[in-house]
Symmetry: C2
Subunit: 358 residues, 2 copies
DNA sequence: CGATGTCATGATATCGGTGTCATTAACAAT
DNA sequence: ATTGTTAATGACACCGATATCATGACATCG
């Protein structure tokens, strides 16, 4: 493999001049530059990032810790969409000339020290810590002393983080339902210990409050267990309870639950959306687009979160973080309206409202 | 950041001895080793992989090119499961003390040269090229001159690759259906230009042949288009046609199609599995497990493929590839039997056969 | 007992770049 | 004419490891 010395010799200049051609840190004569570039091309020269890192003390590497890649959760296969988050981050980093080192915790926290060791050996300039669902985490001390940004999670120490706007997402969804004429909106929630649960319920409530619609508390039921062992039984019962409150639409905690609700409603002979509208959360396209009818769902903006988190980390690294900036950033996503929601009781006013919305 | 010299000084030995403690390439006195290790711990020493790479000419890095991470296919969101492939590979590499550099082509082939440049700068020891579905690819020359293994794809130059055993998977599924008493087995296939299509159809045929069951050709229909624009119409018509041939079970090209078939069958008032059994392909658990009833599906063994591909690449790198070994390796997955398939016409013989199978 | 081998360790060069400083020429400003 | 400034380039040290070779202390062997 050709080195900078080979190139220098071939071009009849000093190695330092070759370096200057590559880095543009000092003026180089046009003819010299051409000669160097010709030599580089002929020798098929590729600079060694190891040597560069060593001398310049800048690795250009960003470490990313994620459980998603091998989240072999025993109970859940959540986290797959998190891969979009990787994508969003990767794009931003590539533009900033950084390379991503991805380490996979395999969902096991005890592996993190080893991954971190690898990161340190590679002298990563920062770490992006990605959780597979919105949750609180507590970082090992070793992680906290470097530059780090959390994505899809937060901690008690106010470490910089980027989170989905669950409150706003559920608000937008329910607000949209109300504008479409729904007044009795059932909500099958996540288990209550999930961070997203309380936020979304509060979005649900705010949408009702702001539109002056009262809530029948029987319409809100927990629809899922953390372990799926008796999930169907629970969902069946929860569905039973909300149906007794006679809703016109059922909001589900996520698209997977909505998929099950599709099956359960059909068993009861309720046609979607003619007799019952359904909405999900996540906008997990594999499900939402292929269900029949297409599932209306609030989007979890993973790609945008990844990009924002990457941005944030880059600013931390380059020290351009505006001091006014909050440590915690929320990212909102749109609602994908599909055929699983039917508009009800239209009148002129509501139609015009709806037009504004789009 | 502490260097090997700092450690050497603190332990009262030469840097080379510290190096020996870390690498174990020469005997070190027990007392010396202890002193060095103490010094390393106290100084919080982490060796620099850049320096190591430079001197030893071995980077310990493996490059992975994948479109999955940002496969923003306009029409398909296939490829998400491919992330399991990354997982499988990562695990093997970690054990072999290699670190994965993941580059994301964003589904755009024109970006690959840039990614490759990054890989070369980091002196990767090999490249794993991962496709988002079983397909033929043609590698740029620049990729072909390094050590490379293809996963989930193959090329015309017989580059080493690891592929899913589509023929065997469909065979196992249909064979299992026949053992469960089904004789009229419909098959809604992939579009014909997909590599997997012909393979799976041939597995379907072999299962019939080996069991002495004749095939009513009307039972085989293309069930999907490469673009989803009129996918539902096509599927509707295809379903119509196979139903006229009176099947007892419908095999779908993949789980997404099966999900749509669930909806369509229910619209026709056919209960699954009582009046019609359904099977998928991929074992995309997010879908298969959460559909109601659970979807029987042949597994695409992504994790295993990733591991096998990683193994293969490591053998290429270390030169331990057995010469007898084929360049093309097939990986088989099991069939996940769930409630969407009902057994028919049992008799004692078949019951005992079934017991052996599990 | 000298020759040879093994253990344990150190001295030194080197991997391939870049940071620092020096040098020269050309030209502008004083 | 003197000084200062900028462009263009090179010499040299150095980043932090490891490869190579050398060395001294013992143990083993014929």
């Amino acid at each position: 493999m050709a080195t900078i010395y080979d190139v220098a010799k071939a071009a009849g200049v000093s190695p330092k001049t070759v370096s200057r051609v590559m880095n543009g840190d000092a003026p180089v004569n046009e003819k010299t530059r051409a000669a160097v570039e010709t030599a580089m091309a002929q020798l098929n020269y590729v600079p060694s990032s190891a040597a560069r890192t060593m001398r310049s003390q800048r690795s250009g590497l960003i470490g990313m810790i994620t459980g998603a890649i091998s989240a072999v959760h025993e109970f859940e296969d959540a986290g797959l969409p998190e891969i979009y988050l990787v994508q969003g981050a990767q794009r931003v980093f590539a533009q900033a000339n950084r390379t991503l080192l991805i380490a996979d915790s395999g969902g096991r926290a005890d592996r993190i020290p080893a991954l971190l060791q690898t990161f340190r050996e590679h002298r990563v300039e920062g770490v992006l810590y990605v959780a597979d669902y919105h949750q609180q985490v507590s970082l090992p001390q070793s992680l906290r002393d470097g530059r780090i940004v959390l994505a899809n999670c937060f901690d008690a120490e106010d470490t910089p983080c980027v989170l989905p706007d669950d409150e706003g997402g559920q608000f937008a969804l329910v607000d949209g339902l109300i504008r479409r004429g729904h007044r009795r909106i059932a909500y099958l929630t996540l288990p209550e210990h999930y961070a997203a649960c309380a936020l979304r319920v509060s979005g649900y409530r705010r949408a009702h409050a702001e539109n002056g619609v009262e809530i029948d508390e029987r319409l809100i039921q927990v629809g899922a267990l953390p372990s799926p062992t008796h999930e169907f039984d629970l969902l069946w019962d929860a569905l039973d309870r909300v149906l007794r409150a006679e809703p016109t639409v059922i909001c589900c905690a996520n698209d997977k639950m909505a998929m099950r609700v599709y099956g359960l409603l059909r068993e009861r002979g309720l046609a979607i959306p003619r007799e019952m509208s359904v909405a999900g959360y996540d906008d997990y396209r594999t499900i939402a687009e292929h269900l029949h009818p297409g599932l209306t769902s609030a989007q979890l903006p993973y790609a945008a979160m990844g990009a924002r988190a990457a941005d944030k980390l880059l600013r931390l690294i380059t020290g351009t973080q505006r001091p006014a900036e909050a440590n915690r950033e929320l990212v909102s996503g749109p609602v994908a309206w599909r055929d699983s929601v039917q508009s009800r009781d239209f009148n002129i006013t509501q139609l015009s409202t709806r037009r504004k919305e789009t």
